[in-house]
Symmetry: C2
Subunit: 322 residues, 2 copies
């Protein structure tokens, strides 16, 4: 079985780890292709940082800080202390020492002329993803960056997505998201094929606006989903209208969409076949989409709980296929 997923950072990575665990039980030979959002990418101190790809690498590779869901376990910040001592800016984005190793080799390899896809594949090797039959692809090899236009009354000002998300904690209302470079970007090698050839296409409970929404903006991706003969099934990132983590509500509000599970499914309505929701959202109905209610809270509290969510989603995929 070939499964293709779109994914952002923490939510996507946790879901996919549970999905892989479930697949290892029921279909160990299955191949999982992950198309990662790169709109969060940012250059800090001259180094290229890809937060979603790094979170996917560390989570799927067993090196993540489980508590915060991103960054490395057993992390330290000695280098960043030096950067601060030199007065280098910005200081609002924490780069741990172990994490910096990833940014340094990525930046070196990119500077040598390797594509983001090639660099990601090399990084994934170190984390043992090929042995797990996981193929991690950046959505595009073109550098793109999500910027946030802030709504500050009379004036409008755009900041990098990371500045809004991390420094401003998404508390300054966003009026819209602009992805610099996305219109000229091409899907990375393998991305459109992975959607075309998939047996199941999966949307983890990643942020529908700034993670999944950005990937859907890569030329060709949305068309590939619309044209897919495979079932496209997703996990709601909201429970009773609230995001389990992150600021999905602030992102939805910026694009004028209600913070409800139904409204999120509505964003995908042109290609979505099945939608898995929490028992609290059992009444959700979306035209043209088959809804399933998970037999427990839609919370990825640990790998076994997440594997059961994946099991529900795969069962839903089988139902919508027939």
């Amino acid at each position: 079985m070939r499964i293709t997923a779109l994914a952002g950072g923490v939510g996507g990575a946790r879901f996919l780890r549970g999905l892989r665990a479930q697949l290892d039980l029921v279909a160990p030979e299955s191949e999982l292709t992950v198309i990662a959002n790169t709109g969060d990418d940012i250059s800090l101190f001259g180094l290229r940082v890809c937060p979603d790809i790094d979170t996917l690498l560390y989570t799927l590779g067993g090196g993540v800080d489980e508590g915060q869901g991103w960054g490395r376990a057993d992390e330290s910040t000695r280098v960043q202390g030096e950067l601060a001592a030199y007065g280098a800016v910005p200081q609002w984005f924490t780069l741990g020492d172990l994490d910096l190793g990833t940014h340094i080799v990525r930046s070196q390899w990119l500077a040598q002329g390797q594509t983001a896809s090639a660099v990601t594949a090399r990084l994934a090797q170190r984390w043992g993803l090929p042995e797990q039959r996981i193929r991690l692809l950046p959505m595009t090899d073109t550098p793109v960056e999500t910027h946030v236009v802030l709504d500050e009354g009379e004036t409008q000002r755009a900041v990098h997505f990371q500045e809004w998300w991390v420094r401003l904690r998404a508390e300054v209302p966003a009026s819209r998201f602009v992805v610099a470079g996305l219109d000229r970007a091409a899907a990375a090698p393998g991305v459109l094929d992975a959607l075309r050839d998939a047996d199941v296409i999966v949307l983890p409970p990643s942020n529908p606006v700034v993670s999944i929404g950005i990937i859907l903006g890569v030329p060709g991706v949305r068309d590939a989903l619309r044209g897919s003969t495979a079932p496209v099934v997703g996990v709601s990132p909201l429970i009773s209208g609230r995001p389990v983590r992150g600021h999905a509500d602030a992102c939805l509000s910026a694009i004028g969409v209600e913070s409800t599970s139904a409204a999120v499914a509505g964003l995908y309505a042109d290609f979505l076949d099945g939608w898995l929701v929490d028992p609290a959202d059992a009444s959700v109905r979306v035209r043209g989409v088959q809804t399933a209610v998970h037999d427990g809270p839609l919370l990825m509290t640990d790998v076994p709980a997440t594997a059961r969510i994946a099991e529900s989603l795969l069962a839903l995929a089988e139902r919508v296929r027939t």
Copy 2:
């Protein structure tokens, strides 16, 4: 009093720390300008590393690892462990975590278009050099790199100076040194003025071939020394024909010069006025150069001992002036 020094790494930095301590006792208002060798500079993992400037910063700024004489005190190598895990090369040059902070900000500032001089001045601020009346200048803002042509019998092969010095421990005989870019390099702003306007010019016991010798190759530097009206005095880097540390003998051998204190002074004979030697070398005579014997071993064992060497050298400068 305005004192200008040429300097390499460990030996130069230790001597200058002692010189500054001595000046603080006898002439606290004096200004010390240090012209640093940049031929050792190397790009590693996409980061610009300037070993001699860093050793000068850390030593004069109180952050050096006293035991090894270079790198940072209380250092760790967590980032390099990650680089190794990713299979990034080379692995023969150790980059500590604290040290990496310097390389990262330097690389960022250079990539922003700042000159090596401007970057060095910013780094020096953090280490409190201006407060100590020390001005640290790279010899040139042009990227230059010392390469070593290895004598391997039938074949000749050139490696970066650091590879010869660090990885090969200078054990493979060198047939010559080639400084890529030096013929097109211009002295950095302030370098020639600092030589022209000095009251005393000082050569620390730095390597005469790959540290002092490289600085002398910067267009205009040797002529400025020859034309100087200020006394030019130096400290011998050899005692009884052996370098106190480093591989000066291997470097001298490569350029066909004897490993003796007299032969080293001979390399500077066209501009040198005074030469300070160890009691073991009391018989050294160099035509046109006034020799002085230090009243103790010429060993920079600690700051007070080094300050006494500086005291001898300044006294020698006064003698040759009159």
